[in-house]
C-alpha cells in the first residue's frame, strides 16, 4: 500500500525529516508517536502533498506509483485521506457543499455517478450517526466556530464519507473528551477493512486501547528511531522518549 524509502523533507530550506523508512501493508494500522516538533505532522502533510514541504531525497510509493509526483487532489482521488491536526476554518464555504463537491470529484475520478443533493444528504446523515456528530454542523461553514472536539469529529466524518484506502489521522484524538474518544475510535474501527490502511499519529497510549495497532513507530528528530508492536506504546507511556535519544545513533531531539 505505502512504502516510504529514505525520505528527506525540507521546509523553507530547513530539513525536518532526515530519512524516513516505513512500509504499511493493506489492512494494517500503524501508530506513529514522538515528542512535539519531531516531524509527525510534516510527514503526514508531505504524504498528502502540501506545497512548500519539499522532498529532497528518497521515494514514496503508493500502490506502486510515485506518490510525490501527484497533485494533492489526485492523491485524495486515489484514496489518500489526511485527518488534520489543526483543521482549518473556511468561512463562507458550507460544510455540506464542500464535502459533496469533494465526494463527487472522487466519484467522478473513479468512474462513478455523481450524487445529487438528496442522495448526498442521506449518505451524510448515515455517516454523521457513525461518529455521533451533531447534524447542525453540516449546514455551517467548514469548521468555522467548531469546538476542538467538533473539528476532530468532522475530520472522521469526512473520512467516513470519502472512504479512503489510506487514512492518515494526525492527532485526531487530541482535544476529545473520554466519551468522544470512544465514539471516534468506534467510528474508525467501523471503517477498518482488509484493504484499508490507517496511520495514526498520537501522543496517547489510550487511543491505542481502542484502536489496536499492528505496529508502533517512534519518530524522533525527523527519524524513526524505534518500531515495535503495540506493547511499545505502553513502554513509551511509562518511560517517555528520553531513553530512545541515546544508543540509537540519532541526535537528541532537543538540547537543553
Amino acid at each position: 500500500m505505502l512504502e516510504i524509502r529514505d525520505l528527506h523533507v525540507s521546509i523553507d530550506g530547513k530539513e525536518i525529516l532526515h530519512g524516513i523508512n516505513l512500509v504499511v501493508n493493506p489492512g494494517e494500522i500503524h501508530a506513529i508517536m514522538g515528542p512535539n516538533g519531531s516531524g509527525k505532522s510534516t510527514l503526514a502533510k508531505v504524504l498528502a502533498g502540501r506545497e512548500g514541504y519539499t522532498p529532497t531525497r528518497g521515494k514514496v510509493l503508493y500502490n506502486g506509483t510515485d506518490l510525490l509526483q501527484m497533485l494533492p487532489e489526485d492523491r485524495a482521488r486515489e484514496g489518500i485521506f489526511l485527518g488534520f491536526q489543526y483543521p482549518v476554518e473556511i468561512p463562507g464555504v458550507s460544510n455540506m457543499y464542500f464535502l459533496k463537491t469533494a465526494l463527487n470529484s472522487i466519484r467522478k475520478h473513479n468512474g462513478l455517478e455523481e450524487l445529487d443533493a438528496m442522495d448526498f444528504l442521506v449518505l451524510a446523515k448515515e455517516k454523521m450517526k457513525l461518529v455521533d456528530m451533531d447534524e447542525g454542523l453540516i449546514n455551517r461553514a467548514v469548521n468555522e466556530g467548531f469546538s476542538g472536539g467538533e473539528k476532530k469529529r468532522n475530520e472522521v466524518f469526512q473520512m467516513a464519507v470519502l472512504e479512503p484506502k489510506l487514512a492518515i489521522l494526525d492527532e485526531t484524538d487530541s482535544g476529545l473528551d473520554i466519551d468522544a474518544l470512544r465514539t471516534v475510535a468506534d467510528g474508525v474501527n467501523a471503517l477498518r477493512r482488509p484493504d484499508r490502511s490507517i496511520v495514526l499519529v498520537t501522543h496517547y497510549q489510550r487511543l491505542l486501547n481502542y484502536i489496536v495497532p499492528d505496529k508502533v513507530h517512534v519518530l524522533l528528530d525527523g527519524r524513526i528511531v524505534k518500531s515495535g508492536g503495540k506493547e511499545l506504546a505502553l513502554e513509551l507511556e511509562e518511560k517517555g522518549y528520553a531513553w530512545l535519544e541515546n544508543g540509537t545513533g540519532s541526535k537528541p531531539a532537543v538540547m537543553s
Binding site: E73, T101, A102
Partner: protein, 445 residues
C-alpha cells in the same frame, strides 16, 4: 477604425445636434443644459493630475469619439432580455435601451395610489414642479461627467412614493446598451423620491447586450424623506469594452434607513461616485459593495458619507476581487460635521488579489469636526489562504475549483447581506457564473 479625436470636442459638437433634436421641448431645462455644457467645457476631462482621479486614467475614454446613442429602441422582445430581468418580470420594471425608455419591454404593475414609476422623459412633461428643484440646485457640478450628464439628460427613471406608501415588490430599472457600430454614449438620469414614511426596494441594473464599445454616464438622485426605509441595489455587468461612469447622490432625512448593495462586474473602466448625505438626525445608512475584475478592467469606487446631523449611523463594507492585470480603487471618505455629535461610522475595505499583476489603491479619508463620535475604518489586501486551499485539495477538489470556491466564499458575505431573495438569487447566479469562468490564474503558484 475609431478617429482619435478629443472626446471633449466631440461631446461639444454633439450638443448642438442634441439641442436641435430636443426641438424646443422642456424650455425650462434649456439654460440648465447650456450651463452644464459650459461647465463641462470649463472643467475639461479629468486627468490623473486631478486629486480625485489620481489612480483612474480615463485616456481610453478621452481618446474615443462617442456619438449620442440611437434613441430609437431596437426590435428586442421581452424574451430576448429575459436573462436580465428580475423576478421573471413579475415586478414593476422599466427597461431602457441605450438610455431611452422602451415601453414595449417595460412592465408596470398595479401600484399603490399616488405611486409614480415612469420614464424621466415623460416626467419632464408631467412632473415639472417636483423635478425642477431637484434638477436645478441639488447637485454641485464639480465633476465633468456629471456636468455632461446634465447637459445631455433627456431620459431615465422617475420614481415617486407618496407619504406612508409601501411598494412590496422590488422596482427594477434596467439599462441595456448595445453598440454594434460606432461608439455611443448614453446619459441616463434617474430621480427617486420617497416621501415621509414610505418604503421600497429599488434595483438598478446596467448590462451590455453585446461586446461593443459604449459609454454610460449616469446620474441617480435619491431623496429619502423622514422615517423611510429604502433598499437600493445596483448590478453592473456592462460590456467588457464599455465605460461606466456614474454618480449616485443620496440625501436622507431624519430617522430614515438606506441600505445599498452595489456589485460591479463589467466595463473596461468603471467609476462610481457615491455620495450619501445624512441630513436628518437618526438617519442610518449601510453601504455594501463588491467589485470583481479581470483582464485589464479598472474599477474605481469613490464614496462619501456625510454625517451632517447628529445621531446618525453609517456602516460601509466594500470588497474587491481582482484577477489578472486588473486594477481597482477604493476611496472612502467619511465627513462628520461640527454639529453631528453622537455619529457612529464604520468603514471597511477588503481586497482579494488573485494575481500578482492585479492591484488596488485603497484610501480611507476621515474628516471629523465633531468631538463626541465613534469612527472606525480598516482596509486589507490579501491573497487566497494556502492552508485553506490545501485543505480543499486534500479532499479531492482540484486547484481551480478550490480557488473558485474560496473566492466565492470571500464574496458570500456580500450576498448574505442582501435580504430580498429574488435579488439575492439573481446576483448570486451572475456572480457564480462570473467566478466559475475564472479561467486564468497566471502569476500564482
Amino acid at each position: 477604425m475609431i478617429d482619435l479625436v478629443d472626446e471633449k470636442n466631440s461631446h461639444i459638437s454633439n450638443f448642438a445636434e442634441f439641442e436641435r433634436s430636443m426641438n424646443g421641448r422642456h424650455p425650462w431645462l434649456a439654460s440648465l443644459r447650456k450651463d452644464a455644457l459650459a461647465r463641462f467645457e470649463a472643467l475639461g476631462l479629468p486627468t490623473t493630475r486631478d486629486e480625485q482621479w489620481r489612480f483612474t486614467n480615463i485616456s481610453p475614454i478621452a481618446g474615443t469619439a462617442f456619438r449620442p446613442a440611437d434613441p430609437k429602441p431596437d426590435s428586442l422582445t421581452v424574451a430576448d432580455i429575459s436573462s436580465y430581468t428580475l423576478c421573471e418580470a413579475r415586478c414593476t420594471q422599466l427597461v431602457f435601451l441605450n438610455g431611452s425608455y422602451s415601453e414595449n419591454l417595460s412592465t408596470v404593475k398595479f401600484l399603490p395610489k399616488g405611486v409614480r414609476i415612469i420614464s424621466l422623459a415623460k416626467a419632464l412633461e408631467t412632473d415639472r414642479e417636483l423635478l425642477e428643484p431637484l434638477l436645478l440646485n441639488s447637485l454641485s457640478e464639480d465633476d465633468a461627467f456629471r456636468a455632461l450628464n446634465t447637459a445631455f439628460m433627456s431620459d431615465g427613471a422617475f420614481v415617486y412614493l407618496p407619504p406612508g406608501t409601501t411598494v412590496k415588490e422590488p422596482i427594477h430599472l434596467l439599462f441595456l446598451s448595445s453598440s454594434r457600430t460606432d461608439p455611443t454614449a448614453s446619459f441616463p438620469r434617474n430621480i427617486i423620491v420617497l416621501d415621509e414614511g414610505s418604503q421600497a426596494d429599488i434595483v438598478e441594473s446596467y448590462a451590455g447586450l453585446d461586446r461593443g464599445i459604449y459609454f454610460t454616464d449616469s446620474v441617480t438622485q435619491v431623496l429619502i424623506g423622514p422615517n423611510c426605509s429604502v433598499g437600493h441595489y445596483k448590478l453592473q455587468r456592462e460590456s467588457p469594452s464599455s465605460f461606466h461612469l456614474t454618480t449616485l447622490h443620496v440625501v436622507q432625512d431624519r430617522d430614515s434607513s438606506y441600505s445599498s448593495h452595489s456589485v460591479s462586474l463589467g466595463g473596461a473602466i468603471t467609476r462610481n461616485n457615491f455620495n450619501v448625505v445624512l441630513n436628518g438626525s437618526g438617519a442610518d445608512c449601510e453601504l455594501n459593495g463588491l467589485y470583481v475584475t479581470k483582464g485589464h478592467q479598472h474599477v474605481d469606487n469613490h464614496t462619501t458619507i456625510d454625517h451632517a446631523m447628529p445621531n446618525c449611523t453609517s456602516r460601509e463594507l466594500y470588497k474587491g476581487i481582482l484577477d489578472e492585470n486588473s486594477t481597482g480603487v477604493f476611496n472612502g471618505r467619511v465627513v462628520v460635521r461640527k454639529d453631528a455629535q453622537k455619529s457612529n461610522a464604520r468603514q471597511t475595505n477588503k481586497n482579494l488579489l488573485l494575481s500578482r499583476h492585479a492591484g488596488i489603491n485603497t484610501t480611507p479619508q476621515l474628516e471629523i469636526f465633531a468631538d463626541d463620535v465613534k469612527c472606525a475604518h480598516g482596509a486589507t489586501i490579501g491573497q487566497l489562504n494556502e492552508e485553506e486551499l490545501f485543505y480543499l485539495r486534500s479532499r479531492g477538489i482540484d486547484r481551480d475549483a478550490a480557488r473558485t470556491l474560496l473566492t466565492y466564499a470571500f464574496a458570500s458575505e456580500m450576498l448574505a447581506a442582501i435580504k430580498i431573495k429574488p435579488i439575492q438569487c439573481q446576483i448570486d447566479l451572475v456572480l457564480m457564473n462570473r467566478l466559475s469562468r475564472h479561467e486564468t490564474t497566471r502569476g500564482l503558484p
